[in-house]
């Protein structure tokens, strides 16, 4: 069964929303699709999204980037320091530069000296962790509120805004109506859920978040529509072919890793500037690795990464805003899995049918049998979802063919 554009949109967006609505009406947990939850999910998605984009840029140019976590750590530190010293915008710029520094280290190690890409990434993660601790010792210790594991609090923040008309933003002092909030509060099937989701996405937005999400269309446009993008992708698909056509693979790999580092750094900056108001050790909390998972989940494509990041961000958002509603997520998973079983039966795909049926049974059992879901279980939900996706869709994944393989100029045996 091959779906065309509009049908895909329906399946991937409208059906889940409808399922959510059913779950909400069934269980009475309004928080699942409330704008608060969605707003929090958006904020939590963006760092993961950017980490995924960082992975995408690196692997598209042919270099594995396990070091995203480390680049994000650089981003949180430099961002936190810059924002404390010079204000939030300069802080974000410092975050990007800090991440690019990490990217450059990775590039010099892997592209110039052909260090194993995994090892270089792991070393970078360790280097970042201990490096920023040392720098904190120099910069933050002795300052009011600062210490070896955190920076002093920032005094100003990136401005937030509401979108006019839809979510009640102000235009030249005129307070526009808040249509979406109004609809959300009605509690109607589907319509209110949709309004809640859209309201969450359109109100109390930080410019930092907006810029972060803009990385998705920007990445797509640059990599798939421009000359430099095609050359960069060719460096990851077939560097030998690219070089025989006069493409400078080495330079493009440096470029790809710098962009990758910059995106990871920005993701770190979001954590220390937008999501909080100071740098704290361990702020990244493994989001760099989750970003890599979303990259695979998203089949190395920007929109797919967005989908994966939304999934992880939503799970985190629900946990943050409505911890009690988490058990209903299992009901959602069970219903979704039942639908997938039906799809698998229609497509006569036995493996997928069995896997999804198994998931449905587990999820339904969890919902019905366990009143108090342990936090560790809910936290693992997105990983579980990624595993299921990878297990059922891995045959269709198309990673860049030569990602991870060192390339030496003029060498083709």
């Amino acid at each position: 069964m091959k779906l065309t554009g509009r049908a895909r949109l329906l399946v991937f967006f409208a059906v889940p929303v409808a399922l959510m609505s059913i779950v909400r009406l069934w269980s009475g947990e309004d928080a699942l699709t409330s704008s608060d939850t969605i707003g929090a999910s958006l904020r939590l998605s963006v760092p993961i999204l950017l980490a995924g984009m960082a992975g995408l840029w690196a692997e598209r140019c042919g270099v594995l980037n396990i070091g995203i976590e480390g680049m994000m750590i650089f981003g949180t530190w430099f961002g936190g320091w810059g924002a404390w010293q010079f204000g939030p915008w300069v802080g974000l710029m410092f975050a990007v530069v800090g991440g690019m520094l990490g990217g450059l280290i990775h590039a010099v190690a892997t592209v110039r000296f052909n260090v194993d890409q995994i090892i270089s990434g792991v070393v970078l993660n360790l280097l970042a962790f201990f490096g920023v601790r040392y720098m904190s010792d120099l910069a933050f210790v002795g300052q009011p509120g600062g210490g070896v594991s955190q920076s002093p609090p920032q005094t100003s923040a990136i401005p937030r805004f509401d979108i006019p008309v839809l979510s009640g933003g102000e235009v030249f002092g005129w307070k526009s109506p808040n249509i979406l909030l109004n609809l959300e509060e009605r509690g109607w099937f589907f319509v209110s859920d949709l309004a809640g989701i859209l309201h969450g996405l359109t109100h109390n937005l930080s410019w930092g978040t907006v810029i972060g999400v803009a990385a998705v269309p920007a990445t797509f446009w640059i990599l798939w529509r421009t000359r430099i993008g095609l050359r960069l992708r060719s460096s990851g698909e077939s560097p030998v072919a690219a070089e025989t056509l006069g493409v400078n693979v080495i330079r493009l790999r440096y470029l790809g890793l710098l962009v990758s580092g910059g995106l990871a750094g920005y993701a770190g900056g979001i954590l220390s500037i937008v999501a909080s108001s100071y740098y704290r050790q361990g702020q990244t909390a493994g989001r760099g690795y989750i970003g890599l998972a979303t990259m695979i989940f998203g089949n190395w494509r920007p929109v797919g990464v967005l989908g994966g990041a939304s999934l992880f961000g939503y799970a985190e958002g629900v946990k943050l805003v409505a911890n009690d509603a988490i058990s209903t997520l299992f009901l959602f998973v069970a219903l979704a899995a039942v639908l997938l079983v039906v799809a698998a039966v229609v497509n006569r795909n036995t493996t997928r049918g069995i896997v999804t049926a198994f998931v449905a049974v587990i999820a339904a059992y969890t919902y019905l049998a366990i009143d108090d879901v342990p936090e560790s279980l809910t936290q693992s939900l997105p990983y579980f979802a990624t595993l299921v996706v990878l297990a059922t869709a891995s045959q269709r994944l198309r990673p860049p063919a030569m990602a991870g393989i060192p390339y030496r100029r003029g060498e083709s045996h």
Binding site: R227, L230, S234, S238, A241, T244, V247, Q395, P400
Partner: protein, 564 residues
Amino acid sequence: MTVEGTRAKARVPLFVAVRLFAAVRRSGALWRCGVTVPPLGWVWQYLSMPDSAANGSASAHGTAPAVELHNISKGFPGVIANRDISMTVERGTIHAIVGENGAGKSTLMKTLYGLHQPDSGTIAVNGTEVEFSSPSDAIEAGIGMVHQHFMLADNLTVLENIILGAEPAKGGVIDSREAARQITELARSLGVEIDVNSPVAELGVGQRQRVEILKVLYRGAKTLILDEPTAVLVPQEVDELFENLRRLVDAGTTVLFISHKLDEVLAVSSRITVIRQGTTVGTVTPAEVTRRQLAEMMVGSDLPQPEPRTSEVLDRVRLEVNNLSVSRPGRRDLVHDVSFAIRSGEILGVAGVEGNGQFELCSALLGREHSSGTVAIDGKDVSHASVRDRKNAGIAYVPFDRQREGLMLTSSLWENNLLGQEEKFSKYGFVNVAAARAACREVISRFGVLTPNEDVPAFALSGGNQQKLVVGRTMSMNPAVLLAAHPTRGIDVGAQAAVWEEIRTARDAGLAVLLVSADLEELLGLSDRVIVMFEGSVVAELSPRDATPELLGSYMTGAKVAAR
């Protein structure tokens, strides 16, 4: 360089302009050419060329040859690949370069394409002496190369592969529509149809080759180098390729092609240069020589005969396959209901266009791929046995892709030779290095692997010598059943004969062979029976006496289906 100063943004207008320029110059109206003015130095050199040189190298129209090589030498550490090579390629002709593997053909062409620089000697393109420090310089001078191993990115589309490095763009944004238009136009001039938006991964070998040719033409090449273009094609595809090339030549392009298939060379080329042991033996026209004379020029001695030899097929069935099918999730049957038996002393040939299930069939027989149906070796059912158990039961394999499946490229030859025989050469888990090295030396001498010693890494060997090592390793295991996939692909005439002889000798001693080959001559010459695979099924079974290449070709392409 003559195209200096004409680096127009769009490459096709440049191509046209250059051709126009060539036409104008041929008519002798050099000074009237307002489109492109060649550098003065070139004119001077052209005018001051001595008469004898002009007679010797230029055509009757007075145009300079497309390519001239003078005394080219090129060495690599430990070997001299090219020595004092001189040759002249006339414009608008198909010029073949023949020679055994390791004779230095590819090295020479890489020199001409700027992939490396000659140690001494000069290259002249259209009469102008040039120095290429990279392929881009060669491309700029109008020379394009289609490599033996296609240089295509599978996940990118046809269009992306073709325009890569020379993208038509406005402000950095690729103008896909313009690119598609240009490519379609070029494809039409070549006489082919191609969907520019399909990923290369979905194309067959012949189509991929066309993409490679288009890639080169797109860059405005007027001299095309093809490195063994027919090695991977079936007869029909070969005919199409030559048809395409003739069209190109008629339009003024020069084609230089490397081959060791002498029949093709004699059929299509107007001049043939023979290279042996790194140096030119001579240049002849097809009318002057017979196939045999040409081959003797190539080898430098008497020729081995690939004639069929009658053999005694014994009754004992060594490999029996019943209703074997292989499928993968989401794919139609890769191998569909294949049954056959090979007896002791028998060679069963498998013909077919690559990708019609031969690879999966061999994988399934080896136990690398899950399959349904039964497989028995020497009467022992191994349908559910592991690869190791099947190997111990006597099956051995010469892989399709020596580099991917057969060798550890960065490891030494003796370690490569040890692969799969670790048990034989070790005791208590320790390898007997001296014995392993000795075994490798034996393979090297028995199969004539050209190498200084057994310590060099496998990637340092030429493709043909790598193949000899792989075949030698397999044969030295004394198997009961041999799966030989393209056992002589890319190896020279002498080694080919040696491999054939080894297979025959082993066959006469009772070996059963499944021979997968794209070389129909080899297939018909060696096999006792031939089956043809098409889309995973066996569509015909023939005796080599009845089978002609044409007949096989029509089965292989699905044009004809026989009842078995």
